[in-house]
Every structure is written in C-alpha cells, then in structure tokens.
Amino acid sequence: MWGAVIGASVLAFAFKYIGQSIPQSALANPRVARIADLIPTALLAGLVAVQTFAEKTNLVIDQRLAGLAVAAIALYLRANFLVMLLAATATSALLHQL
C-alpha cells in the first residue's frame, strides 16, 4: 500500500511541477483544455458509482445507496460539505444497526 501512497504522490507532484514549468501556450489548445476539464468529472462520477454499488466485482444495493441519496438531497439543499458527509454517514450507520 505504500507503493500506492508514494507513487500517487510522486505523480501528482510531477504534474504540478511540470505545469509550473512549461509555457502556458503548450496547454492552450481548446480541445485539450476541454478534455482536461471533463476528466475529473468522469472519474469522480465513476468513483461515486463504484463506491456505492460495488462489492469487489459484484453489484449490490445496500445502506450505502441510502447514504448517497441523503447526500444528494443535502447537496441539493446547498448544505455544507461536512454536514452532507455526516448526514450520509449517519444514514448508513442507522440502516446498518437495523
């Protein structure tokens, strides 16, 4: 697991440092900028899906989905990030106890 920690850290720093060191025009292509802007959206959405429904390689519906639904409602109501997380966590904990 240290491999993941160090590898991800080195890669992130490399991107940050390279960005600071190359001419801005190198990334000015609108197509490149558009793709770069959409990549986090896709990965975060994929992570939401996998973290909610995946149990190794099976898809399951459990208390995590209820927690996510509560999180979505909280976000829709413009709740603070930590309030939203607490609401989702409490929902899942409650269902786990039942």
Binding site: A4, A8, A42, G46, V50, T57, Q63, A71, L85, H96
Partner: protein, 219 residues
C-alpha cells in the same frame, strides 16, 4: 496587500482544511494506516486524488490502479500550474513550494483577485495554499486517529462516507450539459465494467468518455 485577500484566503483555508478530517476518516476506513493517510495529505496534497487512492484501495483495486486514478485526477493541477506560473514568476526552491500548493482553491483565489492587482493575486495564492496545507494536514491526523479508534467502518456508516465525499466533489462540476452527460456516461460505464474487470480498472476506463466527448463537442 489588501484585507479582502487575507480574509478570503483564511476563511477558505479553515473551511476546506477541515475537510481533511473527512479524508482522514475515509482513508482509514478504506484500510490505509494512520501514517499512510497522513503521508498522502503531506505528500500528495490534492483532495480528489487522495480520496481516489483511498477509494480504489478500499474497493480492492491494485496499487497501480490507485496511482492511475489518482494521477488522472491530478492532471488538472498541471493546468493550474501553467496558469499560475506567469503570475508567480518563481524559480528553484520557491517553484517546488508553489507546485506543491497548486490546487483548486489556491488557483481559484488567485484568479478571483487577479483582475484588481497581481500582487493581491500572488498573496492570495500563497496564503490560501499554505493555509489549507496546514489545516488539511492537522485535520487529516485528527480524522485518521478518530476513525482508527472507532474500529469496524460499516458499523459507523463510514462505508457511505467515501461515495458521499466523491458526490460532494462532483456536484459543483455539473454545470454544463456536456459535464452532466459525461457524469452519467461514466456512472453507466463503471457499473457495466465492474462485474467484468479487476476492481479499479472500471474507474480508469471512465477517462474514455471525456476523451470522446471533449474531442467532438464544441462548447
């Protein structure tokens, strides 16, 4: 330097920094140790990428998948860096420091103040970056120690914390029709691929959707 910049920087530092506690909890719940969790906040220092490492490891993915997912999320920091470099004009050790704190919030504060004064924008970048770094790392340690003391993650509902955190990071990005389309496509693709591929790979495969959509769609 103007008071508005200092106020903006400090308030965002405290607000965002405290989210580090959520990362600390989520990372320990995903199976990383307290020291590994703190190392991610100290060394990686980019929220979404850190959550991705915890998320992929927690889902049973390999170290390589975790690095790839985290790295793809960290790509945007390179774009921020290229935008900030002409403003900061730093070299050597200072450039290394500036790189480490080139994140969503430090860039956003700098851009928000750039039109009024470049000096204020620089102050905003440094104050916000350093402020978040301090609060984020302190909060990570507190969250990680707290989760470590709790034991079984599911019993406390922590299994829902990571997906909720990702949803919270995703939400402000869903501003255009193409971003919503990309998000829905990525959810569908990740779910279709989950039973077919090793954990971690379905998340990385989601990068195909912005490649296709971003190439074709004119915004």
């Amino acid at each position: 330097m103007s008071r508005a910049v200092i106020r903006d920087s400090l308030s965002i530092s405290i607000a965002v920094g405290t989210y580090g506690a959520a990362f600390g909890v989520a990372s320990v719940a995903a199976g990383l140790s307290v020291i590994q969790t703190c190392a991610l906040s100290l060394l990686l220092f980019s929220g979404a990428s850190q959550f991705a490492v915890a998320g992929v490891i927690g889902a049973g993915g390999s170290a390589l998948s975790a690095i790839a997912a985290s790295g793809l999320l960290a790509l945007r920091n390179g774009f921020y860096g290229a935008r900030m470099a002409p403003l900061l004009k730093v070299r050597g050790f200072k450039r290394i420091l500036a790189s480490q704190i080139t994140i969503d919030e430090s860039t956003a504060i700098a851009l928000a103040h750039e039109s009024k004064s470049e000096a204020n924008a620089r102050t905003g970048f440094w104050l916000t970056g350093i402020g978040i770094y301090l609060f984020w790392n302190l909060a990570t340690l507190i969250g990680a120690l707290g989760a470590n003391a709790l034991g079984d993650p599911a019993k406390w509902g922590l299994d829902a914390t990571i997906p909720a955190a990702f949803l919270g990071l995703l939400w402000p990005r869903l501003t255009s029709a193409s971003s919503k389309f990309v998000a829905l496509g990525a959810i569908a693709l990740a779910l279709i691929l989950t039973p077919l591929l090793t954990p971690g790979i379905p998340i990385i495969a989601c990068v195909l959707i912005p490649l296709i959509v971003g190439w074709r769609v004119r915004s």
